[in-house]
C-alpha cells in the first residue's frame, strides 16, 4: 500500500530524515518509535505533504502511484489523513460540522455520532460544542481521532495519539486504532510508549532521522526500551545497533 523509498529531507540546511525506507501493507498497524527530536513528526508531515516538508530526495508511492509531489488535499482524497499531536482549534466550528467535513469525500463514511461514540465521547454532549479552546487537550485529541474515523481512510497517520490522554482512556484509544486496522485501514502510529507500540503489527525505530531497525512490534518495543530509553548518545546511533533493512 505505502512504500517510502530512500527518502531524505533537509530543513534549514541540515538533514532531518536520512534515506528512510519503509513498506506498509493494507490493514497493517506500523509503529514508529523514537525519542524526542528523532524526526518522527517530520516523517508524518512529509507523508501527509505539509508545506515545507517535501523530500529532498526519494519517493513516496501510495497504491502504486507516486504521490511525492501531490498537495495535502489530493493525498487526502486518495485516502490518506493525519491526526496531529496537538490538533488545531477552530472558532465557530462545531464538533458536528468538523466531523462532517471529514465525510465529504467518502462514501459509506461514519456518522459524526458514531465516530464520537467510538472515541468515548457522548454525542449528545459534544456534537454542538465548538472545536475551540473550550475543549480540553484530551477531548480535542479524541475529536481529532473521531475525524480520522469519519474519513474511513486507507492510511491514517497518527502522531502520538496517546500523549495527553489519561490512563483509563488509553485503552479506548487503542481500541479505536485496532478498529481502523480491522476495517482495512493502514495505520502509521507514532509514539514513544512501548505499551502502545505493542498493538502494532510491526514497528520501526527512528534515530537521528534514520530508521535503525524494523521488526516485530513486541521485539521493537523491547529494543527501544533497552537501547533508546537509556541511550547516552542521543540521536547519534551506534553502528552495531543499525540493522540493514
Amino acid at each position: 500500500m505505502l512504500q517510502i523509498e530512500d527518502v531524505s529531507l533537509n530543513l534549514n540546511g541540515g538533514p532531518i530524515l536520512k534515506g528512510v525506507n519503509l513498506r506498509i501493507s493494507r490493514g497493517e498497524i506500523h509503529s514508529i518509535l523514537g525519542i524526542n527530536g528523532t524526526g518522527k513528526s517530520t516523517l508524518a508531515y512529509l507523508l501527509m505533504g505539509l508545506e515545507g516538508y517535501h523530500p529532498t530526495s526519494g519517493r513516496i508511492i501510495f497504491e502504486g502511484e507516486d504521490i511525492t509531489d501531490l498537495p495535502i488535499w489530493e493525498r487526502a482524497r486518495r485516502g490518506i489523513t493525519m491526526a496531529w499531536q496537538e490538533p488545531a482549534r477552530f472558532e465557530g466550528l462545531t464538533v458536528q460540522e468538523y466531523l462532517l467535513l471529514s465525510r465529504r469525500n467518502g462514501e459509506g463514511s461514519l456518522s459524526p455520532a458514531t465516530c464520537l461514540e467510538r472515541v468515548g465521547l457522548n454525542p449528545s454532549l459534544y456534537l454542538s460544542r465548538p472545536v475551540d479552546q473550550a475543549l480540553s487537550g484530551g477531548e480535542r485529541k479524541r475529536v481529532e481521532l473521531a475525524s480520522v474515523l469519519a474519513m474511513r481512510p486507507k492510511l491514517a497517520i497518527l502522531d502520538e495519539p496517546d500523549s495527553g490522554i489519561d490512563a483509563p482512556s488509553l485503552d479506548q484509544i487503542i481500541e479505536v486504532i485496532r478498529t481502523l486496522a480491522e476495517e482495512r485501514s493502514s495505520v502509521i502510529l507514532i509514539t514513544h510508549q512501548e505499551q502502545v507500540t505493542r498493538i502494532a503489527d510491526r514497528a520501526s525505530c527512528l534515530c537521528s532521522g534514520m530508521i535503525i531497525r524494523t521488526g516485530n512490534a513486541e521485539e521493537m518495543a523491547r529494543f527501544f526500551s533497552i537501547h533508546c530509553r537509556t541511550c547516552s548518545h542521543i540521536n547519534e546511533p551506534e553502528g552495531e545497533l543499525i540493522e540493514n533493512i
Binding site: M48, L50, E51, P71, I72, W73, R75, A76, R77, I80, T81, M82, W84, P87, A88, R89, F90, E91, G92, L93, L101, S102, R104, N105, S147, M151
Partner: protein, 318 residues
Amino acid sequence: MKTFDYSKEFEAIAQAYAQSGGSPAALLDRKFASLVVSGNKVLASNSIPGVRIESEGAQTGVRAKVIVEPRTQVAYPVHLCFGVIPEEGLQEISSEFEIGEGAKVNFLAHCSFPHALEVRHLMEAKVHIGRGAELTYSETHFHGKEGGIVVIPKTEVRVEAGGVFNNQFKLVSGTVGKLDLELTAELEEKAVCDLETKVYGKREDKIRVKESVYLNGPWSRGLVKSRIVVSERAESEVLGEIIGNGAHTRGHVDCLEIIQGNEAKAKAVPLLQVVDPTAKLTHEAAIGSVDKKQVQTLMARGLTEGEAVETVVKGLLK
C-alpha cells in the same frame, strides 16, 4: 437610478430585514416589542407591558427612546429594524435605552441597506442599565454589494452596580463601505460588559472600530473581543481599550484580524491602563493570514486550500 415606490415601504423594509437575518413576522406580531424605521420615518412601533417605545420622525432621521420598567423580565426579544431602501439617503438615529433596575431584556437589531450607493447611517445611542439589570444587544447589518454606505454608530453605555451589558455587532454580509464604530462603556461595582464585534471587509472597505471599557467600580469586569477579516483592498483599524480604575477589576482584550491577499491592511491596538494596582488586565492581539495549521488540518480531510481558508474564516465570523 432606480425610483423608489414608497407605498410598498413596509414590505421593502421587511424584505431587507429578512436579508439581514431577521424574522419579518416578528415585526407584526403584537407580543414582540418592536420598532421599524425606514429612512426618517417610523413605519411601526409596538410597546408591550413593561417595554415602552417612544419614537418620532425628524427631518433626517428618527429619535427613539426605549424604556424597560424595573424588574421586567422580557420574555421575547425586542425587535429593532432600521434601514434605508433607496440607493441614496441619510438616516440619523438618536436613541436612548433605559433599562430599569433588575430588568432583563434582549434586543435584536437589524440594519439593512440593500441598494446603497450613497447612504449615510449615523447612530447615536445612550444606554443606561440599572442596578442588577441585564441587557443583551445583538446588531446585525446587511449591506448591498456596492459598498456605497457610511455607517457611524456612537454608543455610550453606563452600567450600574451588578448590571450586565452584552453587545454583539456583526457586519459580514455584503460590502461594508465605510464603518466607524465607537462604543464606550462605564461600569460600576461588580458590573459586567462583554463586547464582540465581527466584520468582514472586502473591496475598498474602510473599517474602524474603537471600543473602550472603563472598569470604574470594584470587581467589575469587561471583555473586548473583535474578529475582523479584510480581503482585496480593504483596511481595518481596531482599538480595544480597557481601563482598570476600580479595585480588583478584571479585563481582557482579544483582537484577531485576518488578512487575505497582499493588498488588504489591518492594524490592531490593544490598550490597557491599570489605575488601581489590584486591577488585572490582559490582552491578546494577532494579525496575519489564516493559521497554517488550521488550513492544513482541513486539507488533510480533503478540502482544497481555498475551501479550507473559507471554512476557517466563516467560523471566525459566525
